[in-house]
Symmetry: C2
Subunit: 220 residues, 2 copies
Amino acid sequence: MAVAGQRRRRKEERPGEIVEAAFEEFARSGFAATKLDDVAARAGITKGTIYLYFPSKEDLFLATMQEMSRPSREHLAALTAAPQGSAMTILRTHFAFEYAQMVEDRRTREIIRMLLAEVSRFPDLVERWRAEVIGPEVEALRRVVRYGIERGEFRPSAAEEFPHLLFAPVIMACTWRLMFGDDHAIDGPAYLAGHLDLLERGLTGGSRPNPSLQTAGLSE
Amino acid sequence: MAVAGQRRRRKEERPGEIVEAAFEEFARSGFAATKLDDVAARAGITKGTIYLYFPSKEDLFLATMQEMSRPSREHLAALTAAPQGSAMTILRTHFAFEYAQMVEDRRTREIIRMLLAEVSRFPDLVERWRAEVIGPEVEALRRVVRYGIERGEFRPSAAEEFPHLLFAPVIMACTWRLMFGDDHAIDGPAYLAGHLDLLERGLTGGSRPNPSLQTAGLSE
DNA sequence: CCTTATTGACTGCCTGGTCAGTTATTAGTA
DNA sequence: TACTAATAACTGACCAGGCAGTCAATAAGG
């Protein structure tokens, strides 16, 4: 019956299966209320097995968060490249990605929930996430805004000091969906389009880029 | 020693004191990890006393959330009045209030955290909050936007369909501070000013209200 | 002395963590 | 191929501590 090497393959796959199950349980119930027996049951194993791969509940939680936030870290790389072309186009592309990730991807959403819920128990986790994911993202956005201003595409605005204002609608939609569930979710594409529209008007200062702010030679 | 009627007064004050202490503990540790012994200690009483006033931990939690979210409910009333004067002025006033409440007031912030963290355990609580607080607020904002459009002050925009876009920066600052603490908090007044600036440009579609959209007699 | 708010010791359950034992797989031997 | 030994993954019964909830006893008003 058993394929050769199946035993070894199990050993390689187990941690991933456990993390997967743990994620679901932690996301549903939070760290404290999650029972390792439930995690084990979901993974189709027993509690004892969990302890073959993870030394404690806290370690399992940390490993789970680490593993599940990997996509965010990878995504970030795309934004940090040197900006080229229209700044607004860069922003459009970026926010389309970010929206898909932070609002439409349940995984990332739940990561946010857990970070918010467990800060006081795992302050280091949140600090790392700030330093390695969100901080760089804010800086990258700031660079794009400056680039847009230099190009004459954007007017100077508070977005330079607070790039947070630019992705606020994404966070908004993310927390909205976290709280009220998929049933009351805001309509994705239309909302994103509205966000980008308001953004463009806000940054350029007119329904079309204001000519008086634009130096011919600087426009790419 | 004892003032006349002190006994009775204690009985009247106890529930409030307990709720106060419970709020701090629930906010710090979440529902599951909070120990009623700790709540009692913080309130300067014993666990037994809690059960004289609240039938269970869950009831205490619900009572705490109810009590602590009262300011939000009261604040809402101000917005639902019939709009008068400049729509942008209404928005400015409203967001100044909302910012003070959702970002600078620790209480309200923590309410948000708990709602996010405990949705799956207390779905009714969140649903009520949506129906009684946030829902009406969105509708009220939508009315202000429509009013601004009718007046010729605002151009038609996605803000009519998604008033969420307008207060997104407030939510953003709220969650930011929830996650990263007061140390990394975004600078309040400047951020608010930037928000309102981008908002105005976005809604009116120009660096100054576009004259072609504005009827002289209507400007505040 | 009666009333009543409060106590604090107690119970029972729950759950993180342990570990001796079981079972499946592979290696070795003839 | 058949049998045995060695190994490694996994189990499940168990313990210890912690905590929600209880209640007879206490003590502070009036």
